[in-house]
Symmetry: C2
Subunit: 204 residues, 2 copies
DNA sequence: GTCTATAAGGGGATAGAC
DNA sequence: GTCTATCCCCTTATAGAC
């Protein structure tokens, strides 16, 4: 792997572990056993590294969000949510210091906002689809509120469980998926509600 | 007002506006038109200011959380939630950089964790009460998940709306209360659900 | 591409005069 | 209680040799 790529990977790891505001360029260089001068040969500044990592994130999350045009059954939704959570976990530094990072980088803030919108729209598409099939019983207003809750939960789940559990475990993501599913649960038709409860049981 | 108190109030304002990690002791002193030396006469360091502000927060939120021993009707819950949101808003700097602040101050992290637990327990008490009255239809597991969602939403609502709306408006808190209420809505008996929908309409 | 050395600036914190 | 002056450390970023 080229030095430039190693810098990006090392930085991503450190950002996730320590929080972006707490990581210095010197720390990144130290971790890799290269000189700070070398780091600045490859990147103009810390912002440029952050920016490129954000582009990675944007591409990865975009690929997943573009998928759900076709209707998803309950199992598919489970998988879909999992994929979303995995990307969020991989770039959790963005979420852990969300307000802070975005307030210092307007360009990223705008892009992130668009991604949130995209997520909300994807949720709504899925819910409306379920509603049309008669599987989900909710009026448009309720669907709007539900989708907002879904996106909010997905956005902050990892941070929240970090705060309450101290550390992240292997189950953190599973629990996040489950938590989102419980938001949808009460709106489901009896049949699917039972199914979802069952899957949930085996899940935790 | 004594200088010591003025420092605390000014700091709280700056923390909320700029984020705790972005506020320097010099900035605080400048804002108040006192010298940095004077600030350090009253407080050993920045952490001591933060710590005392946290104590304020802890006391204020504690006072509200200790109340709901008696059962609350739907209107009372509305008010209760409002009070919680108001305290969170007054100390929103804690929530906006939650992981960051807590990772740098272990003592605060432990206390904050306890407050989250207290909030969850208060939610559960209210929900169980409603369930016993037959107003809320949910099994214990669903109530657990519901309470987690309630606390998570209350915790991150202000940060979330800052990110998606850019700025906070006068309605931010109202919308937060509404959003939490929609989490409970689908579990309610038809009667109360209609009532809550009605209140919600007039609310937004 | 990579290193060492270092400049420039900021932020936390203290000393000592008033 | 308050101010000015200052110190020290850390962080970013650059210059110039290899």
């Amino acid at each position: 792997m080229k030095t430039r790529d190693r810098i990006l990977h090392t930085t991503l790891e450190l950002f996730n572990e320590c929080g972006e505001p707490n990581v210095t360029t010197l720390q990144i260089a130290d971790e890799m056993d290269i000189s700070p001068g070398n780091l600045y040969y490859h990147f103009k500044n810390k912002t440029e590294i952050l920016s490129e990592l954000f582009d990675w994130y944007e591409r990865e999350i975009g690929e997943i969000l573009d998928v759900p045009e076709t209707s998803l059954d309950v199992e598919d939704q489970w998988l879909f949510l999992h994929l979303i959570f995995e990307v969020i976990a991989r770039y959790r530094f963005l979420y852990q210091d969300l307000v802070n990072v975005m307030s210092r980088h307007e360009r990223l803030a705008n892009k992130f906002k668009k991604i949130i919108t995209k997520k909300t729209n994807a949720s709504r598409l899925i819910c409306q689809n379920l509603a049309e099939q008669g599987i989900l019983n909710a009026n448009p207003k309720e669907i709007d509120a539900l989708c907002k809750s879904i996106v909010l939960t997905a956005t902050y789940w990892i941070s929240f469980s970090t705060v309450i559990d101290g550390e992240q475990s292997d189950d953190t993501l599973n629990q996040g998926v489950y938590q989102v599913m419980t938001l949808v649960l009460p709106y489901l038709r009896e049949e699917e509600r039972a199914l979802l409860r069952e899957v949930g049981e085996s899940y935790l």
